[in-house]
């Protein structure tokens, strides 16, 4: 919990600000407690299969065997990618079948209070319906939270060790829930090269524009220091290889994979190899690894290839 001790020992001048941020940060402590211990090699499960429901069932089985989402978990905030008004087959958003299977599985595990906040890029109404994710949520009795609607959605937090991103307004649901799960889709991205787990957090903040103006890759890596989800599940059942992040693209691949890890840098690094020779080709992975947030080299992770 290096970041918290750093946070607590603020200088007097920054004390007020710092204590505010620390209070905010303390709220996410439960989700962070479950994060990877530093030093050891993080596990990455690469689950292969054509049937998305079976794939997610296998994924949840592994999660359960690894301590689930933690002890005494009552609320879970799920960050999907429902940013674009695109049909599921485009691969612009997280696959709704996976979302539905995940929600059903989590409910079976006894967690009934699930929140799905999203700050979409295209019109929220069009994005949530075209992506099929709103329907998947509804089918499981979960309501999506449209972060674009008026209301008190965000809370300002300090980013520990942030180089470009020093403070940011984050959707409070991710800080107030007992567990946080990031379930992005892996795809090509015109600005960031690839969009996977760490990039997906841009849909949880209020002002994305700031990231674009102030060294996008550094901001993505900085935010990963603050937001460490309990689990990261990358949807790589189909990957948009060009024209991302919105598509549609004719250049599609179907790896039929889910990438699961407690460490989002490791998950991103593995997923990036579906697109590029080396994870280091994606600057924010390299920067996050340099910050000690996780490994960018495959030999620094325990990779478990599983047939789902």
């Amino acid at each position: 919990m290096k970041n918290f001790s750093g946070e607590m020992s603020v200088k007097r001048r920054g004390f007020l600000k710092g204590s505010l941020a620390a209070t905010a940060a303390a709220a996410i402590a439960p989700s962070l407690l479950a994060a990877q211990a530093e030093g050891s090699k993080p596990d990455v499960w690469v689950i292969h299969g054509k049937d998305k429901e079976k794939l997610m069932a296998k994924c949840l089985e592994i999660i359960k065997s690894q301590g689930g989402f933690g002890k005494n978990i009552k609320t879970l905030a799920l960050k999907i990618n429902a940013a674009w008004a695109r049909e599921p087959e485009t691969g612009a958003n997280t696959d709704p079948v996976l979302v539905s299977a995940f929600l059903a599985g989590v409910k079976k595990m006894g967690i009934t209070d699930i929140l799905m906040p999203e700050n979409s890029c295209a019109s929220p109404k069009e994005s949530f319906t075209k992506s099929g994710i709103e329907e998947a949520a509804k089918a499981n009795g979960v309501k999506m939270i449209d972060l674009k609607t008026k209301g008190d959605h965000f809370r300002k937090v300090k980013i520990p060790g942030g180089e470009s991103l020093k403070d940011v307004e984050v959707a409070k649901y991710f800080m107030d829930s007992d567990a946080v799960v990031n379930m992005p889709v892996a795809k090509h991205h015109g600005g960031a090269k690839l969009s996977m787990a760490m990039k997906n957090w841009m849909g949880a903040v209020k002002d994305r524009g700031y990231w674009h103006r102030n060294n996008l890759h550094q901001c993505i890596a900085d935010f990963a220091e603050f937001m460490k989800p309990t689990w990261t599940i990358i949807d790589a059942t189909k990957t948009m290889m060009a024209n991302g992040p919105q598509g549609p693209s004719k250049n599609m691949k179907y790896p039929d994979l889910l990438i699961l890890s407690k460490n989002q840098v490791a998950a991103d690094a593995w997923a990036s190899t579906l697109f590029h020779d080396s994870p280091d080709n994606v600057l924010y992975i390299k920067l996050a690894a340099r910050k000690g947030l996780g490994p960018s080299r495959l030999e620094d992770m325990n990779i478990h290839k599983i047939e789902g």
Binding site: A85, S123, E126, H212, N215, L216, H217, Q246
Partner: protein, 401 residues
């Protein structure tokens, strides 16, 4: 004079109509109602007919004006005395009037013909001179449409109301072109000839006022257009072109009200023909026109915004994006940005890679629909938005891509 009983019935009818109309105003957030409401304005439709020869809207929409015309032919100003909500308000105010004579002459005929002749030149005077058009737009600020343009009918109506505390019935008896029309339509065979003599004077008066007025307005328009040569306002999809749109649009702002993205707005006159003053237009700083959205097309009561199928809308080019390289984070600040590329629903932004590997945006004009997604999302701040949408002279369906 009417008998006391008829007088009472009439008062009740007028109050009922006033309440009904006011109810419509308050309920105008419902697209269906906001579509019915402005139809009761005869002039907006008349003006549209004359200036653009538009018969595209269904005949159903002509029922209310049709009733007005029928009543006028048979009974003259029966509408004014029994229905008109403005008339009811004004006669109430007139009861407490100072009874000063501000305006001695009845110039309603001149106002009417000036309106007709300026409509022929596509300057919609009736938008401001039609009491119903004013009344139907009174409730816009109450409906949460807090743009300056929506306060004009409110201010106009309030000013007229105040005027009635000075001179009784000044609007209804001296100015109202709608009342003039009702009187004009009532055909009285016995006095046909003498009536024509008076009407001819009014008609000539209308030509003398209306044509120069319209020409001046047009001249002003051309003068302003010179300053912004080749620039066209960004119009809602289906508006086709500026002149057609502003002539058909009755400024009911149902489209602005219903627009889910907030891109539709009405601005104070700028760089435009007087005929298009206060017409709705798009401001991509405020939102992006939804790829699958046809809400404004559904609610427009006059056909100023054509009905479009979702598919047709997607291939309609309403504007073209333009990159301002000096303001661009990628071109000038060497940032990894490409937000415009990211947000473009139509793949109309190409990536041009700089020697140091930074992607920079270039617009593929043949694919750009002008939806404004790029402008709305553009994060550049220092010199304003680095990508902006320019309206096109005429909206066209793209066949490529």
């Amino acid at each position: 004079m009417v008998s006391r009983t008829v007088g009472k019935i009439r008062l009740l009818t007028r109050l009922f109509c006033l309440v009904l109309f006011t109810g419509f105003l308050l309920a105008a957030s419902l697209p269906q109602l906001s579509r019915i409401l402005p139809q009761s304005g005869v002039f907006a439709l008349t003006a549209s007919f004359i200036s653009e020869k538009n018969i595209s809207f269904p005949a159903l929409w002509l029922i209310l004006p049709g009733l007005f015309i029928l009543a006028a032919v048979l009974r003259g100003r029966v509408f004014c005395l029994w229905v008109c909500p403005m008339g009811t308000l004004f006669s109430a105010a007139s009861k407490y009037s100072l009874k000063w004579q501000l305006l001695r002459w009845n110039i309603a005929g001149t106002v009417f013909w000036a309106g007709i002749f300026s409509s022929i030149l596509s300057v919609p005077v009736f938008l401001f001179a039609d009491p119903l058009s004013q009344f139907t737009r009174l409730g816009l600020p109450l409906n949460g449409l807090l743009i300056p343009a929506t306060f004009i009918p409110l201010a106009f109506s309030l000013a007229l109301l105040l005027l009635h505390f000075i001179q009784p019935m000044i609007w209804c008896s001296k100015l109202c072109p709608l009342g003039y029309l009702a009187k004009f339509l009532k055909r009285d065979k016995t006095r046909l000839l003498s009536k024509f003599a008076k009407e001819r004077r009014e008609l000539i008066g209308g030509i003398v006022v209306g044509i120069p007025l319209a020409l001046c307005a047009k001249k002003l328009g051309t003068f302003q257009r010179d300053k912004s040569a080749g620039k066209y306002p960004l119009l809602p999809p289906g508006a086709v072109r500026t002149q057609r749109f502003s002539a058909l649009c009755m400024r009911c702002y149902a489209c602005i009200k219903v627009c889910p993205s907030g891109i539709l707005t009405a601005k104070f006159p700028h760089n435009a023909d007087a005929g298009s003053w206060f017409a709705p237009e798009m401001d991509a700083d405020k939102g992006a026109c939804g790829q699958y959205c046809v809400e404004c097309n559904r609610v427009c009561p006059t056909g100023a915004i054509n009905f479009l199928e979702e598919k047709a809308k997607q291939s309609l080019q309403i504007g073209v994006a333009h990159v301002r390289r000096g303001a661009c984070l990628a071109w000038t600040d060497k940032e990894y940005c490409m937000v415009c590329h990211e947000y473009c629903p139509f793949g109309a932004i190409d990536i041009d890679e700089s020697p140091d590997g930074i992607p920079r945006p270039v617009v593929k004009e043949e694919l750009c629909r002008g939806c404004g997604a790029c402008q709305y999302a553009c994060p550049a701040k220092r010199d304003g938005k680095a990508i902006i949408i320019n309206g096109v002279e005429r909206q066209n369906f793209l066949h490529a891509g």
